[in-house]
């Protein structure tokens, strides 16, 4: 019996590992080993010098955070660091030699063995921070090494240095077939003012600012597909009700709630013109409803006697909804068509499952699940195939892990974890690697990552 269990465990571990690779391959479009990249420190002249530490750190973090290449440590680099293409010498004829960094082959050969490298320099002209950046495919097999050669400008301060680093990183990631998360936003709930309000921050946790000032309990933010609006739930008018705000400028768009003791868990339709949500309007909480952004034209979709919450429409097809229901016992994740037909349970029924979130491709779904852990101890999983119901586990009991939300790039996830001792927002790559804590003040939860 013990042997059987061991075998089963080993088998599932191997299978999980296999699936983990699958998800990476599906998401980024590259299978197998990651390409190796080197980014030696850029140097600055004049006033630009004092901002180079911030620049180099930001560029490094952005490329590393993209998760699509392997960062080769700076300690493995040659001593001479080129700052522009003319710094590279033409390789002499004859057998390959090593010249301490003056040759591109010094970088593509051992020890760093780079596939790619970025280099450049910065200066200040008329109070403007100017970055000159190059991105090379260093492999000797390619004829044209230069992928990018571009100038970026910013204000002559740390913010300007950070901006040029983000933009350069965005171009590098795009040239590798990835999508940068620079410029995207993470909406979340924070209690740091004493009451739960909606906040927003940059993907690296910077620039955190407050959106709502209800001084009530305001929760469950979700961002519209074009990033121009957020919907959320608040007790600001007594019972939990839905609000829709534009985000730039921040303005209440005055969603009209139907009369119900509970209206909650809103989510936008893929065209951004309607929301689906859970409501007790027709009796016991809750059925799934759909309504316009003004609250008009509402109609129920699901029809069960149990608790149905958290509807999320497939962002690619717009034709199916995943949602959480207690209809078969403990809360599980189900799918159904937009008319409520063809209901199917996606999670196997053990433990409790919640927080479904579609991958931008519409083919996978992140969710929280207590499978394998005590009641209430959720971990982040990804269902990599909604037909076969196969899944991978991304967190493994490092505190409670809930509320997964995909980044627009489909490579990153943001989620809530208690691993640091309190509820905080973390990001990670889709394979569960590179967890990064984004918040520290107060209790922070329910992130929603949008444009």
């Amino acid at each position: 019996m013990k042997k059987l269990v061991c075998f089963a465990l080993a088998f599932s571990a191997a299978w999980l590992a296999l699936r983990a690779q699958d998800i990476r391959g599906t998401v980024v479009g590259t299978a197998g080993q990651k390409r190796r990249i080197g980014i030696p420190d850029f140097r600055g002249s004049g006033d630009a010098q004092k901002f180079m530490a911030v620049f180099n750190q930001t560029l490094w973090d952005d490329i590393k955070g993209a998760g699509i290449v392997e960062m080769v440590a700076k300690t493995m680099y040659p001593t001479f660091v080129p700052q522009q293409p003319s710094d590279f010498q033409t390789p002499p004829s004859g057998p390959p030699t090593h010249s301490g960094g003056h040759l591109l082959t010094d970088w593509s050969g051992p020890p760093p063995q780079l596939d790619y490298m970025a280099f450049g320099y910065a200066g200040t002209t008329n109070g403007v921070f100017v970055l000159s950046g190059w991105f090379y495919d260093a492999r000797p097999t390619v004829a044209n090494h230069e992928i990018l050669a571009k100038r970026y400008t910013g204000t002559s301060d740390e913010a300007g240095a950070r901006k040029t680093a983000h933009e350069f990183a965005e171009d590098i990631i795009a040239s590798l077939g990835g999508k940068s998360v620079f410029g995207t936003h993470i909406y979340f709930v924070s209690s740091r003012t004493g009451k739960k309000e909606i906040w927003v921050m940059d993907p690296d946790g910077k620039n955190q600012r407050q959106i709502t000032h209800f001084n009530s309990t305001t929760i469950q933010p979700t961002v519209s597909p074009d990033g121009s609006k957020i919907a959320f739930t608040s007790y600001a008018r007594g019972t939990p009700g839905i609000f829709i705000f534009s985000v730039d400028p921040i303005r209440d768009l005055r969603y009209y709630n139907q009369n119900a003791s509970v209206n909650e868990t809103p989510a936008f339709t893929p065209d951004g013109k309607q929301i689906v949500y859970a409501s007790s309007a027709s009796g016991r909480c809750c059925r799934i409803y759909i309504a316009g952004l003004d609250g008009k034209g509402l109609r129920p979709i699901s029809n069960s006697t149990a608790i149905d919450v958290e509807p999320k429409i497939n962002p690619k097809t717009g034709s199916e909804i995943v949602f959480v229901s207690g209809r078969s016992g403990p809360q599980q994740i189900y799918r159904m068509n937009m008319d409520g037909a063809d209901v199917e349970r996606l999670t196997p029924g053990n433990g409790e499952a919640s927080n479904p979130c579609w991958h931008p491709s519409g083919q996978q779904m992140a969710f929280a699940w207590t499978q394998g852990y005590a009641t209430g101890n959720f971990n982040i999983f990804v269902m990599t195939d909604l037909v076969s119901h196969q899944y991978v586990q991304l967190t493994h009991g490092e505190g409670r892990n809930e509320n997964p939300s995909w980044a627009p790039d489909g490579v990153h996830l943001v989620f809530m974890s208690t691993r640091s001792g309190s509820k905080q927002i973390w990001s990670m790559l889709a394979d569960g690697s590179q967890p990064q804590q984004l918040t520290t003040q107060g209790v922070n939860e329910s992130p929603s990552w949008g444009k």
């Binding site: 016991r284 909480c285 608790i307 409790e352 919640s354 209430g376």
Partner: protein
């Protein structure tokens, strides 16, 4: 004329004195006094005293007021007394009393002929509560009374009313009727709460079901449903935050609050 008047005065005086002397001389001797009959039976006891009257007026007073005892005893007596601290009294009299509680006074009249008693009762009632402005002594607030209502507790992931919750809600129902009667226009809010374990979104639905289950139970016992509102807090407002069953159970509840 003067001489003639003098003459008649003297003549009247003489005449009067003659008459006076003559009356005295002619008075008859008084008859001998009647010999009293000796008592026929010397040993026989004399009649007992009679308590002709013993009353308390008025017979009912409020505490702090007084009543008057009146009595009249006839016949031969050697001692008359009233208990309750009044003491020895005369055969006829009155006495003002102000007992703090209802009191029965007993008059005892003792004579050679025997002892007789009679009672008079003064009923004492509490005075009505003094009329004071409500500012100095406020009545019990609706918040206090609602705060004394019992929570109804639930099983994990359930909104069925358990037997202990049924007992609690049955007591709450009669208290609620009284509260709603004493505070016209008031509304009571039934809050539904959950423990920390299920997802926050699902628990908002579960809390709503718990509050609704409690409301249904109460309305079936006659509590007016239009005076009860429900609100679910899911796991947003726990009353304890420990991760053990004792705390979880405390948070799985329907709780009462005064509506705004």
């Amino acid at each position: 004329m003067l001489a003639k008047r003098k003459m008649s005065v003297i003549g009247m005086a003489v005449l009067l004195s003659v008459f006076a002397a003559g009356c005295k001389k002619k008075a008859a001797p008084p008859p001998p006094p009647a010999v009293p009959k000796p008592p026929e039976v010397v040993k026989e006891t004399p009649p007992a005293p009679v308590i002709a009257q013993f009353t308390a007026e008025p017979g009912s007073i409020q505490r702090g007021q007084s009543s008057t005892l009146r009595w009249e005893v006839t016949g031969e007596t050697t001692n008359i007394s009233i208990n309750q601290g009044v003491g020895t009294v005369q055969k006829t009299g009155s006495q003002r009393v102000n007992p703090s509680n209802s009191t029965t006074y007993t008059l005892t009249a003792t004579g050679p002929g025997g002892t007789r008693t009679s009672t008079a009762t003064v009923d004492v009632s509490s005075p009505p509560p003094p009329v004071e402005p409500p500012v100095t002594k406020p009545p019990v607030s609706i918040e206090t009374r609602v705060g004394e209502l019992q929570d109804a507790y639930f099983d994990y992931d359930k909104s069925d009313v358990r037997s202990d919750a049924s007992d609690a809600l049955t007591k709450d129902a009669s208290a609620l009727k009284s509260i709603l009667n004493d505070f016209p226009g008031s509304v009571i809010v039934i809050e539904g709460h959950c423990d920390e374990r299920g997802s926050a979104e699902y628990n908002l639905g579960l809390g709503d079901r718990r509050a609704s289950a409690a409301k249904d139970f109460l309305t079936q016992l006659g509590v007016p449903g239009d005076r009860l509102k429900t609100i679910s807090y899911g796991k947003e407002r726990p009353q304890c935050t420990d991760s053990n069953e004792s705390c979880w159970q405390r948070n799985r509840r329907a709780h009462f609050a005064v509506g705004q």
